[in-house]
Structure formats: structure tokens, C-alpha cells
């Protein structure tokens, strides 16, 4: 009973937290689509990261993939909170993939670009928090 209630609370928190990541990724996607990442005028380090070749995959802004990932987390966490057990599996897998990608992107910023973008760091913090929630959530009965 306690485990069930804890699961619901944690999945709900995950859904809410993922909304923050979704907002961040949506903002970065819009920046990429409007070309704002291709010019100087804002934070120099932000554009150094967002205007780099690492910010696109096959010409598609990486932020768009982030938006889809966060929306997936939001969806799976919502369904998991309502007791859909399979959603938990997809949630864990999605967060796991996001965690690995985040580690790679942090490596890119730290060791390849030598620049950090605050929006990317915020996203990384969100992913770490989601990973912590995923680890803390008790397994299904």
C-alpha cells in the first residue's frame, strides 16, 4: 500500500519535473528554428554551444529531440501514475537514454567546446533529477 502510494507520488513528481524540461527544450527548439543560435547577440557561450555542429543531428536541432524525449517522459510518467505498469518500463528506458545523452553532451561542452550553455545545464539538472526519481521509485508489485 505504501509502495503503491509512493509510486504514484514519484511518478507525479516526474511528470511535473519533466514539464520544466519540456519548457526548456521547447524554448531551445524555437531558438534553433528562428536562427537565433546562428548569430551573436546574446550569451557568447550559449551560442558557442547551440551554434556548434553538436547541436544538430542530420540537420535537425538536437533540442527538438529533447522536446520529444521530455514529452515522452511526461506521458509515460502520467500513465505510470495512473497504474499502467508498462508505462513504467518505457519511462525508465527513456530516462536512461536521456541520462546517457546528457552525459555525452556535458562531455562535449566541457572537453570539446570548452563552453557551457545555461539552458543545457538546466536540462542536465532536470535529467539527473528524473534519473534519481526513476531509481527511487519502487518496482511494480
Amino acid at each position: 500500500m505504501f509502495a503503491s502510494r509512493l509510486r504514484i507520488i514519484l511518478y507525479t513528481i516526474a511528470a511535473v519535473v519533466s514539464l520544466a524540461g519540456l519548457a526548456d527544450a521547447t524554448y531551445l527548439t524555437v531558438q534553433a528554428l528562428t536562427g537565433e543560435t546562428l548569430v551573436c547577440g546574446g550569451s557568447p557561450d550559449c551560442f558557442r554551444v547551440l551554434g556548434s555542429s553538436y547541436a544538430r543531428v542530420g540537420g535537425i536541432p538536437l533540442a527538438l529531440f529533447g522536446t520529444l524525449a521530455y514529452f515522452s517522459v511526461f506521458s509515460f510518467a502520467t500513465f505510470a501514475a495512473f497504474g499502467y505498469s508498462r508505462a513504467r518500463t518505457f519511462l525508465i528506458l527513456t530516462i536512461g537514454a536521456m541520462f546517457l545523452v546528457t552525459l555525452w553532451l556535458l562531455y562535449v561542452q566541457a572537453f570539446l567546446l570548452h563552453a557551457y550553455c545555461r539552458y543545457c545545464l538546466f536540462s542536465a539538472a532536470i535529467v539527473f533529477l528524473l534519473a534519481g526519481i526513476a531509481v527511487a521509485s519502487p518496482p511494480s508489485d
Binding site: T26, V30, G35, V39, C40, S75, F82
Partner: protein, 222 residues
């Protein structure tokens, strides 16, 4: 009802995301504008004193407002040079200084290019500064590095140093900045092709070439 609640929540979430993304996109979409007739470049006369590369009679003009410490500007430097080679006498390029205060050495670099220009080597210094941007941007002794570049270009160093500090060089840079400010520019690079701004999303080699081709096709080649 409870069975459908998660579906409703997810659908609402999707709609809110799409709606807010659309609103944000419309708000952030940059204004693309055209240089008014009153501000068109004649390319002649000491009052203009601008840096032009290419044929004076070229049917298409690229006017770039750049910052030598701006990485996107450096990224476009070689592609623009390639366009000049590809389009030969059909294209001329104008460079304007628009250094940002957040770029610590941008103004110095602009003055260095003007000082080189006073010895007839503006474009060589322009290309060199963009090519070496990652080196001098992070250097501890930038003036020494600029002097080295001047030596590489065969300039008279004493004159170069003096010209860098001269009022004439500062006035040239300020003139370009005033032009940019009067046009309402906020970013670099800002590129106009035949006085029509290239949208920021097209500021890449393929986008520039497409915009150039459109301008070329709009005018008969001479």
C-alpha cells in the same frame, strides 16, 4: 472517466506545448528588413569610405555587418569568400564593423583591420582575423598578436600601431556602428543581399548561396 484521465492529461499537455511553441516562435521570429533607399550604399566618395571587394558594377551586393570575435561571423567568412570566387564579377562584398561589447577584443580587432586598411591590406587582415579568431580571442596579449599578423602581411609595424590608435580608425568603425544602429541591427552577422536582409535561419553556406542565386536570378547577369 478516470480511465480516460491520463489520455486527456497527455493530450492537453501536447496541445499546450504546441501552442506555446507556436506563440514563442512567432514572437522570436526575427524581423527581416530591407535597407531603405535613403541609406543605400553608393560605393563612391570619401564620405562613405567603405570596404568593398569585387567589381563596382556587380549586379549583386552582399553587405555584411560583422564582429571579428563573433564565431558565426568567422564560420561564414570562408563561405562568403567562396561565393566571391564562384560568382566573380557578378558579386561585390561590403564589410561593416559592428563589434559587440561582450566580445572583449572585437573593437581592437576592428581597429587593427582599419589600420591594415590604411596600408591597403584591409581584406587580408579581415580574412586573417577570422581565420585566427580562436587563437586571438583567448590570447593574453592580443595587441602583440595583432602586431604579428601585421608583420605577416608585410605592413609597416610602427605605422600600424599608430593607425590603430588613430582617430581616423576609430571614426571609421563608429561610422559603421552608427549605420548598423540606424538600421536597427541587434545581431551579427547581419547580411543584406541587394539591401534585403538574409534571415538568421539562412545564415549558413547553403542558405546564403540560395539567397544569392535568388538575387542573381532577379537581375540579368551583365
Amino acid at each position: 472517466m478516470k480511465r480516460y484521465l491520463p489520455f486527456i492529461i497527455v493530450v492537453v499537455g501536447a496541445l499546450v506545448t504546441l501552442a506555446s511553441g507556436t506563440v514563442l516562435y512567432r514572437a522570436k521570429r526575427p524581423s527581416v528588413f530591407t535597407i531603405p533607399k535613403s541609406a543605400l550604399v553608393s560605393g563612391s566618395g570619401a564620405a562613405d569610405s567603405i570596404h568593398i571587394r569585387g567589381s563596382a558594377n556587380a549586379p549583386v551586393t552582399i553587405e555584411e555587418f560583422g564582429d571579428f570575435q563573433c564565431p558565426p561571423c568567422a564560420n561564414l567568412s570562408d563561405p562568403i569568400n567562396k561565393l566571391e570566387r564562384d560568382y566573380h564579377s557578378r558579386l561585390r562584398v561590403i564589410y561593416r564593423h559592428f563589434p559587440f561589447a561582450i566580445h572583449q577584443h572585437a573593437r581592437e580587432a576592428a581597429l587593427a583591420s582599419e589600420a591594415a586598411g590604411m596600408q591597403g591590406r584591409f581584406w587580408e587582415m579581415h580574412d586573417l582575423l577570422y581565420r585566427e579568431q580562436s587563437n586571438w580571442s583567448n590570447a593574453t596579449d592580443v595587441p602583440a598578436l595583432f602586431n604579428t599578423y601585421a608583420e605577416m602581411l608585410g605592413l609597416n609595424i610602427d605605422r600600424f600601431k599608430k593607425d590603430m590608435d588613430s582617430d581616423k580608425a576609430k571614426a571609421r568603425v563608429e561610422l559603421d556602428e552608427q549605420r548598423g544602429a540606424a538600421l536597427g541591427l541587434a545581431n551579427t552577422p547581419t547580411i543584406f543581399i541587394n539591401n534585403r536582409q538574409v534571415p538568421p535561419a539562412s545564415l549558413n553556406p547553403a542558405g546564403l548561396r540560395a539567397a544569392l542565386d535568388a538575387a542573381m536570378n532577379a537581375k540579368p547577369a551583365k
